[in-house]
Symmetry: C2
Subunit: 194 residues, 2 copies
Amino acid sequence: MARTIGSHSDITGPRVRAAALRLFARHGYAAVSMRQIAGEVGVQAGALYNYTPDKQSLLFALMRDHMVELLDAVPIIDTDAPIDQLQAFVRFHIGFHHARPDAVFIAYMELRNLEARNFAEIEVLRGRYEAVLERILRDGAGSGMFDVVDPKIATLAVIAMLTGVTTWFRDEGRLSLANVQDQYWNMVRKAVVA
Amino acid sequence: MARTIGSHSDITGPRVRAAALRLFARHGYAAVSMRQIAGEVGVQAGALYNYTPDKQSLLFALMRDHMVELLDAVPIIDTDAPIDQLQAFVRFHIGFHHARPDAVFIAYMELRNLEARNFAEIEVLRGRYEAVLERILRDGAGSGMFDVVDPKIATLAVIAMLTGVTTWFRDEGRLSLANVQDQYWNMVRKAVVA
DNA sequence: GTCTATATTCTGATAGAC
DNA sequence: GTCTATCAGAATATAGAC
C-alpha cells in the first residue's frame, strides 16, 4: 500500500504509548506534559493528537489495556483443588506484575486522575480480577480446606500483600523472583489453610 | 502581645497545611495548584508564601511530620513476647493509618514528587518504622516461635497487607474497625507463627 | 499578614502548510 | 503524518501597597 512521505503511524503509535507509560509511571500523570511525551518519542507535541484525542484518553487506554491483559492472563482452572488454584494465582500475580512495573504503578496510582466514567470502567475490571481470587478462597472455605473468616477481606489482604512486591523487588537484588514467589506462597498458604 | 491588623498566622498556618493535605490526597500533588489551596483556606495565593517557601516544601513538611508522628506513636515494648509485640504492631498500624487516611495516601503516593534530598530523608524515616516490625519478626524467628524464612521480606509483606486496609475500609461499611483488626491479626499470626 | 498586580513560563489543544 | 505557529488560560512565585 502506498504510504505518505513522513508517515510513521504504525510505529509512532506504540512509541507514544510506551513513552506515556514510562513517564506517567515515573513522574505521575498530572506532572507529565504532552510536550514531554512528544520529546521522548521524537516528534512535536501536535503530532501526538494523531494517536489520542486528548491526554486523558491516553491514560485511560493504558490502564484499560493493562487490566484487560491481566484478566486475559490470569489462570483459572476450575478442576484443580482450591489450594492448587491459590498457588497458581499467587505465583501468577507476582510474575505478571513484576514484568510490567510501569503499568502496575499507573493502574494503582492514577485512579484519581481518571474522569468518572473512565474510573468506573476500570473499577469493573479490577472487581473482576479480585473476584477470581475471592472465588478460590470461597471454594476452599466452603470445603473446609481453608480457614477464611471473610473471603472478601482475605482477597483484598492477599492482593495488597502480593502487589507490594513491585515496590521493592529488583532483579539485581539479593533474591530471585522464584525465591520471592516461594516465600509469598508460603505466607499466603499458612495464612489461609485450615 | 500586640498584633497587626489582619494577622492570623497562628490559625492560617495550620489551615494551609490542612487544606494542602486534603487536596494533595484527593487530587495529587502535581494536580493541585497553590491557588486551589489558597481558595480552600480563604486567602489569596500570594499569602501562602508566608507559611511555606514553596510548594515542594509544603509537601515535604506534610510527609515528614506524618512519618515522625508515626514513629513517635508505634508501640515498642521489648519485655513482651514477640507474639504480643506483633499483635500490638498489627493493631496499631491499622488503627493509626485509619485515623489519618489523607496523610497515609500522600506518604505512599507522592514519594516520586519529592526532590532527591527530601525523598532520601523520608526513606530514612520509613526504614526506621519498618525496622520496628523487622526486629519483632527476627526476635520471634530467633526463639523458634515464628516460622519466618526472611524477616525483611515478611516485614514488607505484612506492612503492604496492613496498609491496604486504608484503600477500602469505610466507617459506614459492613465491618467495624475492631473486626478488621481481628481478621488481619488472625491472618498475620497464622502466616508467621511456627 | 494579606492584598492586588504582575513577571515569566508552561499548559492542552487546534489550524493550516507541506 | 508531521511540522510550525498560535490561542487562551493557568502555573509558581515575587513586588510593593496597605
